[in-house]
């Protein structure tokens, strides 16, 4: 990939998605910095309220804009996007008004275990579980250390999609601590609703039951999608996650899992969450210290 000589940033690729979409790949590789740039650019575009823009979709290392070409010529949009890209630059000083959220998850639950055992023939390592396999290829001595790494530091919601409400999450840790695993050799035809999975460099919570190719580690008791909008967190939108949310996956045992499930069923469940202004510079400079602070905001009084 060619780099921009002046800024040192990778050169963005601007592309037409037919006549109705403009797709911008900021970089081929994932990093926190590139996701901050995608968010900064799409946030600014949102504020401009240009006529003819139908959808603005930030994604992991890229973003996409749906445009009505009868109102706004895609080339005109692209030239404005290039200007915004210059203005945003290396996202120095980028701040994001967001929220920190406690997301319970039961690791090695019986339901995803049953699902993953059904599809061993589609897996890289049919003789291990997804967790055992992922721990090994990431250099962990055992799966408990691997679980501790996943549950110990918060995550940034970098993209929403695939199906409504499914969040892609990227952990707020230095690149050398990032977990990376391949997707299944051939995708499963079944994944339980609310399964906690991992593929490439991203953790997800599957919003609905369906196909899927990510490694399966556990199950979240609380939903990320509520089409009937029964729960308080879903009153404004049928989906809970928002790009830029900071989530902390917290391991729960079967007892707490069941207790949360019953509160979801009777409609009284609400996510623990706190408003927070996220400073990109601090996350890049000293992630461990900043993460401690973030967790303090979430769990402190």
């Amino acid at each position: 990939m060619s780099a921009n000589v002046e800024t040192g940033l990778p050169q963005a690729r601007y592309s037409y998605g037919g006549d109705e979409f403009v797709f911008v790949e900021l970089a081929e590789a994932m990093s926190l910095k590139v996701n901050f740039r995608a968010m900064a650019i799409t946030n600014r575009l949102q504020e401009e309220r240009m006529e003819g823009i139908m959808d603005i979709c930030p994604s992991n290392a890229s973003y996409m804009v749906r445009v009505d070409p009868d109102v706004l010529h895609p080339d005109k949009l692209i030239s404005r996007l290039r200007e915004i890209d210059d203005e945003v630059g290396d996202v120095k000083g980028f701040e994001l008004p967001t929220r920190v959220v406690d997301v319970p998850v039961m690791m090695e639950d019986p339901w995803t275990h049953e699902a993953l055992m059904r599809f061993r023939d589609r897996h890289q390592d049919p003789d291990a579980t997804d967790l055992e396999y992922s721990a090994r290829i990431n250099g962990y001595d055992n799966k408990d250390d691997f679980i501790a790494a996943l549950l110990g530091s918060p995550w940034l919601v970098t993209m929403i999609g695939f199906v409504p409400g499914l969040p892609w999450c990227y952990q707020l840790v230095p690149p050398e601590e990032q977990v990376e695993v391949p997707k299944y050799v051939r995708p499963r035809t079944f994944t339980p609703e609310r399964a906690f999975g991992f593929g490439g460099g991203f953790a997800v919570v599957y919003s609905v039951q369906g196909a899927g190719g990510y490694q399966l580690y556990g199950l979240a008791p609380a939903p990320v999608l509520d089409v009937k909008q029964r729960l308080k967190d879903f009153q404004d939108s049928i989906v809970f996650p928002r790009p830029g949310d900071i989530w902390n996956y917290r391991g729960v045992d079967r007892e707490e899992f069941d207790e949360i499930r019953s509160r979801v069923e009777d409609g009284s469940f609400e996510y623990r969450k706190k408003d927070f202004t996220f400073h990109a510079d601090r996350a890049l400079e000293d992630p461990h210290a900043y993460n401690e602070e973030i967790l303090g905001v979430l769990y402190g009084d």
Partner: protein, 324 residues
């Protein structure tokens, strides 16, 4: 006034123009797959643009009317019958209380559209009445029609005055077993070798049985990816990229063997390399292709896509004018 579903057909759903502005939360637009036929149906029965109708796939339903109504069938050649008597397509038809509308076998195309004066009065969910079955929202309880369903109709504007009006033969599309689809190459097309990109554009592809509202899968050639060390976050398969957004109409090539064109109920993002996008004006014809039909993809520039879009809009305006 309602429509009673005596038998639902293979897959009959309530659809309108679709659900826009929610792509960022992963909500695909849904809506009529063949927008042209759907729109013309509304013109025929005197509806406002955007009134909901039925999309009928491959095999038609049997519908009983509990009152007088004006209807039109457009799209695929699936001849309608009123009380067993064959009736014309692309024409506004009068049906009376107790009449039963059924359909003969599909002759050409894949999807028929039933427009009813007043439109199907399903509840509006996020700006649209369109059915999205995957998570069960829109339309009738978020699902395809079932035997025993009752579909309420909206207030008809001036349906009676439309009876007998028909679309000029020149404007009625013909569906063939060979389709050419125009695409704009781009997105992550850099992942394909030059040779493979050429193969993609030269091969005659066959529509597989895996062709529905989510996407169309094709077979016929094998494509290879440029070798690279996979970037952080992408996963190890050469067809994988760091997960990104998928435009409607975009073409992905998982494993290099089966191109998939994403359609109205598609997933909105994922980690497969996408290599281009079918232009909006050609998705109507795509939606009328079916299993075993042949397809070629032709690369065009944006200008040609915008001209095709303009041409389609001009044609629709002309038809609308001739029917009002």
């Amino acid at each position: 006034m309602a429509i009673r579903v005596k038998s639902p057909g293979l897959l009959t759903t309530v659809q309108d123009t679709g659900r826009f502005g929610e792509y960022a939360i992963g909500m695909p637009p849904s809506g009529a797959m063949d927008v042209f036929s759907y729109q013309v149906g509304n013109y025929l029965v005197g509806n406002e643009d955007g009134a909901a109708g039925l999309e009928i796939t491959y095999f038609g339903p049997e519908l009983e009317f509990t009152g007088d109504a004006v209807v039109a069938v457009t799209g695929a050649e699936m001849p309608p019958k009123i009380n067993g008597e064959e009736a014309p397509t692309w024409e506004a038809l009068q049906v009376r209380e107790g009449d039963v509308l059924s359909f003969d076998y599909l002759k050409n195309g894949a999807r028929s559209y039933l427009a009813v004066a007043g439109g199907i009065d399903a509840p509006v969910f996020m700006h649209s009445r369109s059915t999205y079955t995957l998570i069960g929202l829109g339309g009738l309880d978020g699902r395809a029609l079932q035997e025993g369903d009752e579909l309420e109709l909206g207030e008809a504007q001036n349906g009676e005055a439309q009876v007998g009006k028909r679309v000029d033969d020149d404007h009625i599309p013909t569906y063939t077993k060979e389709t050419e689809l125009r695409v704009i190459i781009g997105l992550a097309s850099y992942r394909l070798t030059e040779e493979s990109l050429e193969t993609f554009l030269n091969v005659e592809w066959t529509v597989t049985p895996d062709a529905d509202r989510v996407g169309y899968r094709y077979r016929g050639g094998e494509l290879g990816f440029v070798e690279r060390e996979q970037p952080a976050g992408a996963g190890s398969d050469p067809a994988n990229v760091v997960d990104f957004g998928y435009p409607i109409g975009s073409i992905q090539v998982p494993g290099g063997v089966e191109p998939i064109v994403l359609m109205n109920d598609a997933v909105t993002g994922g980690g497969y390399a996408t290599i281009g996008t079918v232009i909006s004006a050609d998705r109507d014809r795509l939606a009328q292709s079916k299993t075993n039909d042949k397809t070629r993809f032709r690369s065009i520039e944006l200008d040609e896509a915008l001209n095709a879009r303009e041409e389609r809009r001009r044609k629709l305006a002309e038809i609308k004018g001739s029917l009002s």
